[in-house]
């Protein structure tokens, strides 16, 4: 168990008494991360990679060190495999635009996806004549490995799959899907937006070729994310943008791109944010993801069980929390989920998400929640008292309005 009371002190925003349960949308940022970013602005504010003076040297050192910290965090082989992006969405788009698609190529994705890992592939249909095969999860949001055996063929070039559903918190069988994918000579892109912040990740163990994730969901600032690219594909993946900082040599006739990660990070990057991400990763390492994952799971289990016991409340996803992380989605009778979320905020200062959570096909078609749903998502700083407050408030809402 992490020492929640102690680490909450690093999040002064919590002192006002708010109950922040919208972590799947964005997490809070602890003081050490903010201080590390402030240090950049106050002590060594300069551009990276280009200057010889001491500030630039320091900035470059810290910026590169951030790559190293993230690489270690996800157990990448080298720092070169870690590309700084703006967010998960940009990472996915980089992959989508970095492959030399041919007509007739196929992409396999699932109905469990966030729009960012879904409409990107639908666009390929229009642009390159790429076929998209969509794997459906069960009504509980579970993906069956056997359906991938059928969906993935020798025509498949890419399998794009989320690691954890942002609506249900269900963990998908990445290793098994990766094995099928590689057997067919295809590559696998994993949307790690909801997994990297919450469960220990080893890219080598997962055997994925690309892994995209966002900093802002893992205690880091907004505007910074990462794309892991397996070493073998670093040179053949076309950068999304090129320009300053990405080249080795330029003549009137041609240019040579620099080795990764520079080749992918055109222009002046989000330096402070990247350094902040490095600090966030260190913070998470310090607390220990194994412990926080267990903590979040027990919080979510309590939410799930508490809500399920309330008459008129529908909770989505599997009961078995061995397959889930700290996310719970639900509806209160026929109440509009936005009204429920607003009541939670106004009446209890409990902050949750409502609507379709950027996963309209899943919420509408699979879960059958035509008006959307309410989502509570936990993180390392949440407490059992907060969970009880949420459950108590939902009980109050259900009792009063349905």
């Amino acid at each position: 168990m992490p020492d929640v009371a102690k680490l909450r002190k690093d999040f002064p925003i919590l002192e006002s008494g708010i109950v922040y349960l919208d972590n799947a949308a964005s997490s809070l940022t602890p003081e050490p991360v903010l201080m590390k970013m402030m240090e950049f602005y106050r002590d060594y504010r300069a551009n990276v990679e280009r200057g010889i003076h001491r500030l630039s040297q320091r900035a470059s050192g810290e910026y590169e060190a951030a790559h190293g910290k993230v690489a270690e965090f996800i157990h990448a082989k080298s720092d070169a495999e870690v590309v700084m992006t703006r967010n998960t969405t940009e990472g996915i788009n980089l992959v989508a635009n970095g492959i030399d698609w041919r007509k007739g190529d196929r992409v396999v994705t699932t109905l469990l996806e966030h729009h960012s890992n879904f409409i990107v592939w639908l666009r390929l249909r229009k642009r390159f004549g790429v076929e998209v095969d969509i794997v459906r999860p069960s009504s509980e949001g579970i993906l069956d490995v056997n359906t991938f055996e059928k969906a993935i063929t020798d025509k498949t070039r890419l399998v794009a799959i989320t690691h954890v559903s942002n609506v249900l918190g269900t963990v998908t069988p990445i290793q098994e899907v990766a094995e099928i994918t590689h057997r067919h000579g295809a590559r696998i892109l994993v949307d790690g937006a909801q997994s990297v912040p919450h469960i220990p990740i080893d890219v080598r163990n997962l055997d994925c070729d690309f892994l995209a994730f966002s900093g802002h969901k893992m205690l880091a600032p907004t505007g910074i994310g990462c794309l892991y690219i397996r070493e073998e594909y670093l040179n053949e993946t076309e950068p999304l943008t090129i320009g300053g900082g990405t080249i080795e040599e330029v003549t009137e006739e041609h240019y040579t791109l620099a080795p990764s990660p520079r080749r992918f990070e055109a222009g002046t990057p989000a330096i402070a944010e990247a350094i902040g991400l490095g600090a966030a990763v260190e913070y998470l390492k310090g607390v220990g993801l194994e412990a926080t994952a267990e903590h979040e799971k027990s919080l979510a289990t309590r939410i799930f069980q508490g809500l399920e016991a309330i008459k008129g409340v529908k909770v989505y996803g599997p009961t078995d929390f061995s397959l889930r992380t700290g996310i719970v989605s639900f509806n209160v009778g026929e109440l509009n989920p936005h009204d429920v979320a607003l009541a939670l905020d106004v009446s209890g200062s409990v902050m949750v998400r409502s609507g379709f959570h950027c996963a309209m096909p899943l919420v509408k078609e699979v879960l059958g929640a035509r008006g959307g749903c309410v989502r509570a998502s936990t993180y390392l700083y949440n407490t059992m008292e907060e969970v009880d407050r949420l459950n108590g408030m939902v009980e109050e809402i259900a009792g009063a309005f349905i």
Partner: protein, 420 residues
């Protein structure tokens, strides 16, 4: 763990005795939460029967108060914040609005926006809404207006689902906003609009109460442009004559007249030591009459075209509230059902005459009588204070005092400035 407004309010005696200088325990609770008042200011909490409450209250306050209970500092635009086609109902729209009072919007709402208890009360007594459900704990109401689902939140947000169009949503929110005018908490004094309209709030005796003068907030966020001059409540019976809602108003006043007459009879029965079924029946009658008066009052507030004129509806509801508190005092005496000591009898006699004269002064716009009531109340209060210290029947004395203080509030209304 922090505590909510209701958790704190629930520990107060809820006698609304006015002895702390606030017309209701809700106002006192608000002030205690913000540090504007001390729990020790409540005379009743010091009585042995509330000893546990007092101890608990001190603990709870020391543990901290949930931010929602303290009111919110929000800097946001008032008005319609969102209009979007309904996903589940084609051709309909959903709209969300943020209501805010005062020209500065909701810049600093020290005590919150709507009083959660008055929010539920005001919407319920209006009898205007179908499928009405409300939670005072949450400060959230759900109601139906012509097939539209409306959710009202204590921070002034109103969501309308399945409206025909934006204009329809605006009209719906306007209706709700007017109905809830009296539930708005004044950021200056912590009282609600209805406290001001009842004469219970002492802070705006020489100026127009910001809640009454500000009018019910408009969902378009428009500020009221009418220049504000003032008159006093003495003129309300004159003003009403020109209004299309005159009949509603007069019917409401008629109910109050009957309620006061019944109350007088009840008071006299108690002085004679009679606590029979007849008296209990009379209490029920008064409740019914006050309900009717409140319904009329809300109709006047909602249907009177000009907002300045609509204040007469609030005054009607305010006086009904005073009489309702007087009735609670009488009810306590009936419930206790024991003959009063001579000292208490004498105080009850005085209190009854203050209550009746206060109402009479208001009805006849008799300033002289009004002033006499204010003086009599001060005399009563002195005698009462002495008696209360020594008395062993404190519950009786608090009930007696409620009669007097509410008569005093009504008399105070006479010189209350109103917007014209």
């Amino acid at each position: 763990m922090t505590h909510t407004f209701n958790e704190i309010y629930d520990l107060f005696p809820k006698l609304d005795c006015g002895l702390c200088g606030n017309p209701s325990c809700r106002t006192m609770a608000r002030k205690v939460i913000t540090g504007d008042a001390k729990v020790e200011g409540c005379v009743n909490l010091k009585r042995p029967e509330f000893q546990e409450n007092l101890t608990h209250l001190r603990t709870v306050l020391a543990e901290g108060v949930e931010i929602g209970a303290k009111g919110v500092v929000v800097v946001e635009e008032a008005g319609i914040t969102y209009v979007h086609p309904c996903i589940s109902e084609a051709g309909k729209v959903m709209a969300e609005a943020k209501l805010a009072s005062g020209p500065e919007g909701s810049v600093n709402l020290k005590f919150g926006f709507y009083d959660p208890i008055m929010l539920c009360w005001a919407l319920e007594v209006s009898g205007l809404f179908k499928d009405f459900k409300c939670s005072t704990n949450l400060g959230v109401a759900k109601l139906n207006i012509d097939g539209k689902t409306v959710m009202v939140f204590k921070d002034g947000r109103v969501n309308v689902r399945a409206a025909k169009d934006k204009q329809d949503a605006i009209e719906t929110i306007r209706l709700v906003s007017r109905s809830l005018w009296g539930a708005i908490i004044c950021s200056c004094c912590g009282n609600v609009g209805i406290d001001c309209a009842s004469g219970g709030c002492a802070d705006c005796l020489s100026k127009i109460c910001p809640v009454l003068g500000g009018g019910p907030p408009d969902p378009t966020g428009r500020e009221r442009s009418e220049s504000m001059s003032q008159t006093t409540a003495q003129t309300i019976f004159e003003r009403v004559k020109a209004l299309p809602t005159r009949l509603q108003f007069e019917a409401g006043v008629e109910s109050l007249d009957t309620a006061m007459k019944t109350l007088q009879d009840l008071g006299e029965s108690i002085l004679l030591g009679k606590f029979q079924d007849k008296e209990r029946k009379s209490l029920q009658n008064i409740q019914g009459l006050l309900e009717k008066a409140n319904q009329r009052a809300v109709r006047v507030v909602v249907e009177t075209p000009a907002i300045q004129d609509a204040t007469v509806g609030l005054i009607l509801a305010g006086v009904a509230l005073d009489i309702s508190r007087m009735t609670e005092g009488i009810k306590t005496l009936v419930k206790l059902g024991v003959p009063l000591t001579p000292k208490s009898c004498s105080l009850l006699r005085q209190a009854l005459s203050i209550a009746l004269d206060g109402y009479k002064a208001f009805r006849s716009a008799d300033e002289g009588l009004g002033r006499a009531v204010l003086d009599n109340y001060q005399m009563f209060k002195n005698a009462w204070g002495g008696a209360f210290k020594e008395s062993s029947e404190k519950e009786v004395l608090v009930a007696v005092e409620k009669l007097a203080v509410n008569g005093f509030y009504i008399a105070r209304l006479l010189n209350k400035p109103l917007p014209t």
